[in-house]
């Protein structure tokens, strides 16, 4: 059984001028110790998915439907108290902005220790010792000194390391990282991605990484889910997805990215454009959500919404026209 199973997740928000169907009918699973990336552009519902899993969506104006089974329990049926015992303990989260996610008036050590005292009933001394250990784990030099410092005394990269230390302090089974490197400079991003790869092997938590950056996906993920307009449009193991994207949207995304080293290989071509704009999620879309921007779209696409089908082994796409290979039954 998978560690996390999301079934027909719908997260909608009520607004003055309509209902925003931010996530609409999303299915996916995450196995223990696996790293899954959810990738898509802004407004595709990837962050809302993460917030829905942790039930951090304010209700109202939001509403979550479907099932989110974690370790066999449906998170959507738990009481607030049971949910609090899971957040930060069995499932923890890293946010994009490390400065605003840390409390400026508490030392780093206190913030790491807080979750330990809360969830694992450690004493202050035990918690502090563990905090030092965690800082060492995330590669912060002089952890004994740093543990007594405040967030503003740390640089952006250090703060993100502290965030990771807090997230991992209780040995979670699942770590959700929402754009963990987007606010960081490229050399710092490389450090954090490197750290995440190391930790994957040492800590043994499953990771869901949410990002818009296909480069980051290729660096850390094992399996990729591509989201567009609140739906999953494609899912495959990372090599398969990058080597052989089957959904026109994924193909468009890859084609619209300039490749580093293009001047060396002489592949200096014009970037592929995906014309038009993401459709409004406040109206129900008939047919395929991508049809309005897809150069292959036919009337069929505009009327019948394509189901997610296994187009090749372990490679799922929602497109009527995606090439289908024989799948071993």
């Amino acid at each position: 059984m998978a560690l996390l199973e999301v079934e027909n997740l719908q997260t909608h928000f009520r607004a003055a001028d309509g209902i925003n169907r931010a996530v609409d009918g999303l299915n996916f699973h995450v196995n223990a110790r696996e790293t899954v990336a959810i990738v898509g552009e802004s407004g595709c519902g990837k962050s809302v998915t993460a917030m829905s899993i942790l039930r951090l969506i304010p209700e109202p104006p939001g509403k979550i439907a479907g099932a989110i089974r974690f370790d066999g329990r449906d998170l959507l049926t738990l009481s607030d108290r049971e949910m609090r015992a899971i957040r930060g303990n069995e499932i923890s989260m890293i946010f994009q902005e490390p400065m605003t996610s840390l409390n400026p008036v508490l030392t780093v050590g206190k913030q790491i220790g807080e979750t330990l005292r809360l969830h694992q009933g450690m004493s202050s001394n035990q918690a502090e010792a563990r905090a030092v250990e965690m800082l060492k784990l995330v590669g912060i030099p002089e952890p004994e000194r740093r543990v007594r410092e405040y967030p503003h005394q740390l640089s952006g990269g250090m703060r993100q390391r502290v965030m990771i230390a807090i997230a991992l302090a209780c040995n979670p089974k699942l770590l959700i990282a929402d754009e963990p490197t987007t606010a960081l400079d490229v050399t710092i991003q490389a450090q954090i991605l490197d750290l995440m790869r190391d930790l994957k092997n040492t800590v043994g938590a499953a990771i869901v990484i949410i990002t818009h950056d296909l480069g980051v996906v290729a660096e850390v993920a094992e399996r990729v889910i591509v989201m567009y307009a609140g739906r999953k449009v494609e899912e495959a193991a990372v090599e398969k997805l990058f080597r052989n994207p089957r959904h026109p949207y994924t193909q468009g995304l890859l084609g619209s990215m300039p490749k580093l080293g293009s001047s060396l290989s002489g592949e200096e071509t014009r970037l592929q454009e995906i014309p038009g704009l993401v459709p409004s999620l406040k109206r129900k879309i008939d047919g395929c959500v991508f049809a309005s921007r897809c150069s292959y779209a036919t009337d069929l696409c505009r009327t019948i919404s394509p189901a997610l089908e296994e187009k090749a082994e372990g490679h799922i796409a929602a497109c009527h026209y995606a090439i289908k290979e024989a799948v071993a039954a």
């Binding site: 490389a190 300039p258 580093l260 001047s263």
Partner: protein
């Protein structure tokens, strides 16, 4: 070599830090500390570096959005940095600018038509009202927006469309040089491609020179002719694109290239992961500014500051390693392919 359209000589901008009860100066942020480069007609020069390296300050200094601490800005042979604001005003026509954030770059209380008409009126380019309308429509056509866009408000447009409006405004004065300050960084991947293509087309059609300020090396490689890499207020390397990407001659450039995540799972590449963070520009390190993070730093780097010098035709770098014999110089040879790992 033809005369450059824009030349920047030893540009310095030190922002005072004020503190204390009387607001006295307690120190300086050495945002830009001696930067020189030139751009030819129709050329794109990219200024790359991480946040806080001073690249955006260089762009704003050229536009004289504040006074310089030191140095010169020469536009088409004419020095503009020491001009008074009223003398400079008509000359501003020749410099266009596009900023990063398409949402705060447009006055929310002005219609698109008025936004585009403002520079045309300021520079007295339109003969009459009909000519003004024609020019506004022409600008909208150029950036591929519908002509009725003029009667709408900025908030009615998406990020990509707003950036098109910003580009149209930058073109309104019929400039010679366009400064793009992270002009595509805030956009989504698919929209980014649209704007990159538009900028490239416009440059070709209009023969514009472009200063492309960005932190995104893949986009820079796609857009540019030459690249200047900045670190802590200084240029550490300048080279034509192919030379820089094939054979970076500064350890910082090398590390930057190796740090960019590429969309190729399992790509075999040599990785150089820098330790530590960028030091504060308030108190930059002595000697080479990069020595605190440089994997190859040796004693001399902690003492003398290296100067930018030519190692190959058109390829300038500021690194002491090039005084060593090739066998001891890790930057000798073309290492770009190994770092980027592009098949």
């Amino acid at each position: 070599m033809s005369t450059p359209i824009l030349e920047v000589n030893d540009l310095k901008k030190h922002f005072p830090i004020r503190g204390g009860f009387f607001g006295g100066v307690t120190g300086y942020v050495y945002a830009v500390d001696g930067v020189s480069f030139s751009i030819e007609k129709g050329e794109t020069l990219s200024l790359v570096g991480e946040s806080g390296c001073g690249k955006s300050t260089v762009g704003k200094a050229i536009l004289k959005l504040f006074d310089l601490t030191d140095g010169q800005v020469v536009l088409d042979g004419q020095r503009i940095d020491d001009m008074g604001y009223s003398t400079l005003r008509p000359i501003r026509r020749r410099l266009g600018v596009v900023f990063q954030d398409p949402f705060s770059s447009l006055n929310p209380r002005m219609k698109v038509r008025d936004i585009l008409a403002e520079p045309i009126r300021n520079f007295g380019l339109a003969k009459d009202g009909a000519d003004l309308d024609r020019r506004v429509e022409e600008l909208l056509d150029r950036v591929r927006l519908p002509r009725d866009a003029g009667n709408r408000w900025p908030h009615e447009f998406s990020g990509g469309q707003r950036q098109r409006i910003c580009i149209a405004r930058a073109l309104a004065g019929e400039p010679d040089v366009i400064i793009c300050d992270e002009a595509v960084s805030a956009l989504d991947v698919s929209v980014k491609a649209q704007i990159v293509n538009l900028l490239q087309d416009l440059q070709r059609e209009l023969g514009l020179a472009m200063l492309f300020i960005s932190h995104d090396l893949a986009i820079v490689e796609h857009m540019t002719h030459r690249v200047a890499v900045m670190y802590l207020g200084k240029i550490v390397e300048v080279a034509p694109k192919k030379q820089l990407f094939a054979a970076p001659k500064h350890p910082y450039t090398e590390a930057l290239l190796s740090a960019v995540p590429v969309p190729e799972p399992g790509a075999a590449r040599e990785r150089i992961i820098l330790t530590g963070d960028v030091p504060s520009p308030i108190n930059p390190p002595k000697g080479c500014r990069f020595h605190t993070r440089c994997p190859y730093a040796f004693d001399r780097c902690r003492q003398d500051e290296p100067v930018l010098r030519q190692t190959e035709a058109g390829h300038w770098s500021a690194c002491h390693l090039h005084d060593k014999p090739d066998a001891e110089n890790p930057l000798a040879g073309a290492r770009g392919a190994a770092i980027i790992a592009h098949h």
